[in-house]
């Protein structure tokens, strides 16, 4: 539980010596409570004060890193139950399960290369296969090494402690995650993870069992722990996931203050959806198809977007792709969803463009026009103020189909030889519009 300013003040020397840069110890304490200062600035703080503040400021859920280098996945460090309270900070790592049974080393390599090549750009994020979860089987050590060589973080879905060791040990410097099988006796896995210095998943039949397993792993020297929640169906899983997060935030047991690991087997799409929305940090997913991964990546993107971002966009000119002075100039309103949908479609069209976002009080195009917030004068003024008019040499502006009633007055208000072209009503028709209207027009 974080300390209040007054609680911290009582721990300070109360000399008002100003060495910290603040006029009084109370002022410094307030800054500490707000997380804007560090106790390091107080040279006279007692060891007791340091211990108390250190414990109180430790994150309720510890951070864990799997893998090394550019693709390493760090999870945990969450501080809220509802995303609107602050934000969820560490996007869960989505690992793809690789079962080497029946695959030659070359086939494994080809599959890994294929996964390595996955790169889907969507709304400012690149969707990738975050990691590979290798099933213990003949060929698994080679597959794990091949995955690690390609930079993938690796999880080891173990069947036996010996097998886990043979897969994880050669790549221990790449910090693989060891996942024991359901119901395994934990001691040998504790010893293995402690010896290799790698993260470990612990499980329990219920919340108490899970928390004490985590505490026992800590005592056995395992530094980084993930929790596999009990739950045979969505209801009991949801109960576990909610209770772990609540228990961690309320600090009811130190064993609950770790990120959560979840497996989604074949066809268990609903379970993966629940995991992503409700606090799972690493998911090992058995299905490989785009029809499973695209919605899950997108859901993760939605849930882990910072909700403190306003629904309104800042008016201005946004480059999509790398536009130049001959690229199309489009106009839309500053409702975030409108901007997002239009920019997504423009990006998907492959045509670089300038997107001018006009202040319409955060309304969508149709609503803004109906409410009289999208007059020719207003739009022209905004385009001049934001410098949109200077971005292109062709003096042609494309406006949304729903704003067509203002095209005439806008052309008058723009003056200077500007032409206003009415674009499609729906953003999904932008690509055909570029192809069928814009390109032929430009070619003339």
């Amino acid at each position: 539980m974080p300390l209040t300013g007054l609680q911290i003040f009582k721990l300070l020397p109360n000399t008002n010596c100003r060495k910290c840069g603040y006029p009084t110890c109370l002022a410094f304490a307030m800054k500490l409570a707000a997380g804007r200062e560090s106790l390091e600035k107080c040279p006279d703080a007692s060891p007791e004060a340091r211990a108390a503040l250190g414990a109180a400021s430790a994150p309720p859920i510890r951070g864990v890193t799997i893998g090394r280098g550019e693709r390493a996945v760090t999870v945990g460090e969450e501080t809220v139950f509802f995303r609107h309270e602050k934000t969820f900070v560490r996007r869960p790592g989505l690992f793809r399960i690789l079962d080497p049974r029946g695959l030659s080393a070359a086939e494994c390599g080809a599959l890994l290369n294929d996964w390595l090549g996955v790169s889907i750009a969507r709304a400012g994020e690149t969707f990738r296969v975050d990691g590979v979860a290798i099933v213990e089987a003949p060929g698994a050590p080679e597959a794990a090494s091949a995955a690690a060589r390609r930079g993938f973080p690796v999880a080891v879905l173990a069947a036996t402690p010996e097998g886990a060791a043979s897969i994880a040990e050669p790549i221990k410097d790449q910090r693989p995650l060891i996942v024991p099988p359901a119901g395994a006796a934990p001691a040998a896995y504790f010893a293995l993870a402690a010896r290799l210095g790698v993260p470990l998943v612990v499980a329990g039949a219920d919340l108490a069992g899970l928390a004490s397993a985590a505490a026992a792993a800590s005592s056995a020297g395992v530094g980084d722990i993930l929790l596999e929640p009990p739950g045979a169906d969505l209801r009991s899983l949801h109960h576990s996931l909610s209770a772990i997060r609540r228990g961690a935030l309320d600090r009811v047991h130190p064993g609950l203050g770790h990120p959560v690991f979840l497996r989604a087997g074949r066809g268990e799409f609903e379970k993966a959806v629940l995991g992503i929305t409700k606090f799972a940090s690493v998911l090992a997913i058995e299905d490989h198809g785009g029809e499973t991964w695209l919605p899950l990546w997108t859901l993760r993107q939605n849930i882990y977007t910072d909700p403190q971002k306003p629904l309104q966009m800042e008016p201005g000119v946004y480059p999509l792709g790398e536009p130049d002075s001959r690229s199309p100039l489009l106009m839309t309103t500053n409702f975030s969803l409108t901007y997002f949908i239009v920019s997504t479609e423009v990006e998907a069209s492959g045509v670089a463009a300038h997107l001018a976002v006009v202040d319409a009080e955060g309304l969508s195009v149709l609503t803004a026009w109906s409410a009289g917030k999208l007059s020719g004068d207003r739009v022209a003024k905004s385009l001049r103020q934001t410098g949109a008019v200077d971005r292109v040499s062709h003096r042609t502006l494309i406006i949304p189909g729903y704003a067509s009633p203002i095209s005439g007055e806008l052309e008058d208000a723009m003056g200077d030889g500007w032409r206003v072209i009415v674009g499609p009503q729906e953003a999904s028709d932008i690509a055909p519009f570029f192809r069928d209207v814009w390109e032929p027009m430009r070619a003339r």
């Binding site: 995303r83 609107h84 919340l207 969505l234 209770a243 609903e270 785009g290 499973t292 919605p295 859901l299």
Partner: protein
């Protein structure tokens, strides 16, 4: 060692709202006194209800994968309603009168009333009726429909802050439920309900439509505004404790990721299952955020959600909270 988390108790609860009266078999939603799906600590007398969307005219813009199950009945609302019930197991149906839009068929209020009558005659479940969207035609159509279906407890979709008086009056006069739609904004949702209460609408006969953003297209905004509305309701806010309805199918199937063919986007996987997954992820996330009436398009999405929620709200197996 025992580890007990104190169950969260709340001052407020969600209102129970009954859809359908007269010749309808009623369906009640809401009534829960905890966070959505928190069956381990709250009491939930009613589970979320699933509607399938049917239309008055052939919805040409629907994705191929969403049209498939409705082959032969698109634009035939009575036949589609029978299929929704008998083959697909919907709890209720939503008749979307999209053909009454001036640009999309311009069907008259009289024709709309005839469509509603045909559906009422074909099935005995409650009916949600969605108009052509904000504008003068919306009121003309829904007012005529409300009169035609007097006493049947339709859910009229929808009234908004700028234009609620006509629908408030007809809902009260003809005994219907009114859906109050707000643009992903808790303050407007509350304000609209205050206005409706002032217009003599019974707060036990309203639903909140918080405006659904589909997966990838604003889902996160809807998700969080619903969580906040639910928290306010549980905190005791009587103007925000109506059950929420989400048009998950319509919004999910708008996404290009749901519609694109496998030929256009080979890396996006199987087209039919991708669309269903898009709708499923949208709907399940919204149920987690507090949706109590889900309007869907694909019967397979409904079947899969039904399986999960039957388990969720069924009796726990002895000695644990697993339903198996």
């Amino acid at each position: 060692m025992s580890l007990e988390l104190k169950p969260k108790k709340w001052a407020g609860a969600i209102r129970a709202v009954t859809l359908g009266s007269g010749s309808r078999k009623p369906v009640t939603v809401g009534g829960g006194n905890g966070l959505p799906l928190h069956t381990f600590e709250g009491v939930f007398p009613h589970r979320p209800a699933f509607a399938l969307e049917i239309t008055d005219v052939d919805p040409a813009r629907w994705a191929e994968a969403a049209r498939g199950p409705w082959d032969g009945v698109l634009g035939s609302p009575a036949a589609a309603a029978r299929r929704a019930l008998r083959e697909f197991g919907a709890d209720l149906v939503m008749l979307h009168l999209c053909g009454t839009h001036p640009d999309r068929g311009n069907r008259t209020p009289e024709e709309a009333a005839a469509d509603v009558r045909a559906v009422l005659d074909a099935v005995d479940v409650p009916l949600i009726v969605k108009g052509p969207g904000a504008g003068p035609r919306q009121n003309d159509v829904l007012a005529r429909v409300a009169e035609e279906a007097k006493g049947e407890g339709l859910a009229l979709h929808s009234a908004c802050q700028e234009d609620y008086k006509t629908l408030a009056a007809v809902a009260v006069a003809y005994g219907h439920i009114l859906v109050a739609e707000s643009p992903i904004d808790m303050n407007i949702a509350k304000q609209l309900n205050i206005l409706l209460a002032d217009a003599s609408v019974d707060m036990n006969r309203t639903l909140i439509d918080p405006l659904t953003g589909g997966l990838g297209y604003g889902l996160e905004y809807t998700y969080s505004v619903m969580e906040r509305i639910r928290l306010a309701a549980l905190g005791g806010d009587a103007m925000l404790n109506a059950p929420m309805i989400c048009l998950a199918g319509e919004e999910a199937w708008k996404a290009k990721e749901a519609k694109a063919s496998s030929r256009q986007e080979p890396r996006w996987g199987d087209e039919r299952r991708r669309g269903i997954h898009w709708e499923l992820a949208t709907a399940l996330a919204l149920i987690e955020a507090g949706a109590e009436v889900l309007v869907l398009r694909h019967p397979e999405t409904l079947a899969r959600l039904r399986t999960q929620l039957d388990c969720w709200f069924g009796d726990p197996a002895p000695g644990g909270d697993s339903c198996r």
